[in-house]
């Protein structure tokens, strides 16, 4: 952030943005190319790999059975975890999750949870006793900026790919039967991150842009175009007008992405 190289880069990025352009020739409101591949991990109940430009995120979903929370006895449990794997960046270190990976996991979790993307009540096996627990593990494989949007997309793509085991209850015992049913998905939240560099708003910040930007705002938009989760990050600020502009950008981009992916 404070190295001389990035300060020189900041100048360059600023000059480009003044002309309405980005270092990689994108417009201010353009996403990098999005590529999604599903079902590549056979051992997982669901999986997806997302490429957002050079940023690469792999998500695996495991489905197990467990106890529901006391306050939601009829609902399945969703758990999201994120690993910033050391292969992804020279700045990632092995070890317990730091504040960045915890924030990433919680922002992805909030987008899925608050939009009610999964029909939780259909994950209930026996109220108060047994439910399906859905583990969403976000694995960042290459960090080239905007991990939030890439991870949120990959998590949703993996959930859409997830198959749940068929079961029956015989004499109070749970028996897994042959075959699978798809995970009940109700909504397809899309998270759009907008960065602020010198009072200009840019969509889908790349790594170098992230290193020089003041702050970012991520908004998860559901199928109806409503906002279901927001997270501001970074050490800068937004004016209220900029936030409303970012909200408009998020609406537009979410529609665009959803159309492209047929969600």
């Amino acid at each position: 952030m404070s190295s001389l190289v990035t300060r020189v880069r900041l100048k360059q990025i600023e000059q480009f943005i003044e002309k309405g352009k980005r270092l990689d020739d994108r417009g201010l409101r353009d996403y990098r190319e999005i590529k999604i591949e599903q079902g590549l991990i056979e051992r997982a109940e669901g999986s997806a790999r997302v490429l957002l430009g050079k940023t690469e995120v792999l998500v695996g979903v495991k489905v197990e059975t467990g106890k529901p929370f006391d306050d939601t006895p009829n609902e399945g449990v969703l758990t999201v975890n994120a690993e910033l794997v050391p292969v992804a960046s020279p700045n990632f270190e092995p070890g317990p999750p730091d504040e960045n990976s915890i924030e990433l996991a919680r922002v992805v979790d909030r987008g899925i949870r608050e939009s009610k993307a999964i029909d939780n009540e259909k994950l209930c096996i026996e109220p108060g006793k047994k439910v399906f627990v859905v583990f969403v593990d976000v694995y960042v494989l290459n960090h080239d900026g905007n991990l939030i949007d890439a991870s949120a997309l990959a998590a949703m793509a993996a959930l859409l790919n997830t198959k749940m085991p068929n079961y029956e209850i015989k004499d109070g015992e749970l028996k897994i039967k042959q075959g699978y049913t798809p995970l009940p998905v109700k909504s397809h939240p899309v998270t759009v991150t907008t960065g602020k560099i010198n009072n200009s708003l840019i969509v889908d910040p790349g790594l170098e842009e992230e290193q020089v930007m003041d702050s970012r705002i991520s908004m998860a938009i559901n199928d109806e175009g409503n906002i279901c989760a927001v997270q501001k990050g970074g050490s800068g600020y937004f004016t209220p007008q900029q936030i409303l502009e970012a909200s408009k950008i998020a609406q537009e981009k979410a529609v665009e992405i959803r159309k492209k992916l047929n969600w």
Binding site: C228, A229, K232, P240
Partner: protein, 244 residues
């Protein structure tokens, strides 16, 4: 959730705790409550009771975390085990780690970090009792603690939440409204710079409701901002009287 059947707002638009939609809970702010901290503040926001202490600018521990061109701000948001209904483990939860990060990032824009290279400021927030909206009350108190420590600031940071309860956008949610309501939008704001330094949301809001909630929260912030300034002045009024 069977409690959901119960209405959180009655026909006259009065909430369960007797407030109107755009009314804040009662607040009490006190500055300089700890003798060994460089700056400190205590806030009672409804039933929230929160203590904040600021230390620094001082040498960083460990030293290798210091930065050659600016000061490092560190924040720890922590809830006491007895602050909530069911005992909370004192080990930091993922929620506390995330809140510590967003609180740090919402205070940083207020500080002149580049004026204090190689130093660190530590802010510790202890939630003694929680009743919804603790991150906002923590920010309000933490900013006061930093100001009390004599660290120059561009403006005080003040925070307040708005949200949606029974289809109505309301100000300053308390615990029950937070849990049973439809959405929660905490906002931290620097009023004289018109800068939003923290914004989060969960729940579902239309873009119009989101705008309304954000504006309502900022109006709430402006009211608390006056109380913050008053609390700072009060501390020095007391000193003055003691001298006379």
């Amino acid at each position: 959730m069977n409690e959901k059947a119960e209405k959180l707002i009655d026909k006259k638009g009065i909430r369960l705790d007797g407030r109107k939609a755009d009314e804040l809970r009662p607040l009490k702010l006190q500055v300089g409550v700890l003798s060994h901290a460089d700056g400190s503040a205590y806030i009672e926001h409804g039933k929230n009771k929160i203590l904040a202490a600021a230390f620094g600018p001082r040498e960083m521990h460990p030293k290798h975390l210091s930065l050659p061109d600016r000061m490092v701000l560190r924040c720890r948001y922590h809830m006491a085990p007895f602050s909530v209904q069911e005992r909370k483990s004192p080990a930091p939860s993922r929620r506390e780690v995330e809140l510590s990060k967003v609180i740090k990032e919402c205070l940083e824009p207020a500080l002149f970090l580049e004026l204090y290279p190689r130093t660190g400021v530590d802010v510790f927030v202890e939630v003694l009792q929680a009743d919804g909206g603790t991150r906002c009350a923590s920010i309000t108190a933490a900013a006061l603690a930093i100001a009390d420590a004599g660290v120059p600031m561009r403006d005080l940071v003040v925070a307040c939440a708005a949200g949606k309860v029974d289809d109505t956008v309301v100000l300053d949610l308390y615990d029950a409204e937070d849990k049973l309501g439809a959405a929660d939008v905490p906002v931290a704001y620097m009023p004289s710079l018109n800068a939003v330094t923290l914004l989060q949301m969960d729940g579902i809001l239309t873009p119009e409701e989101f705008e309304k909630a954000m504006n309502m929260a900022m109006d709430g912030c402006k009211k608390i901002y006056e109380m913050q300034k008053e609390a700072l002045k009060t501390k020095y009024m007391v000193v003055k009287e003691a001298e006379e």
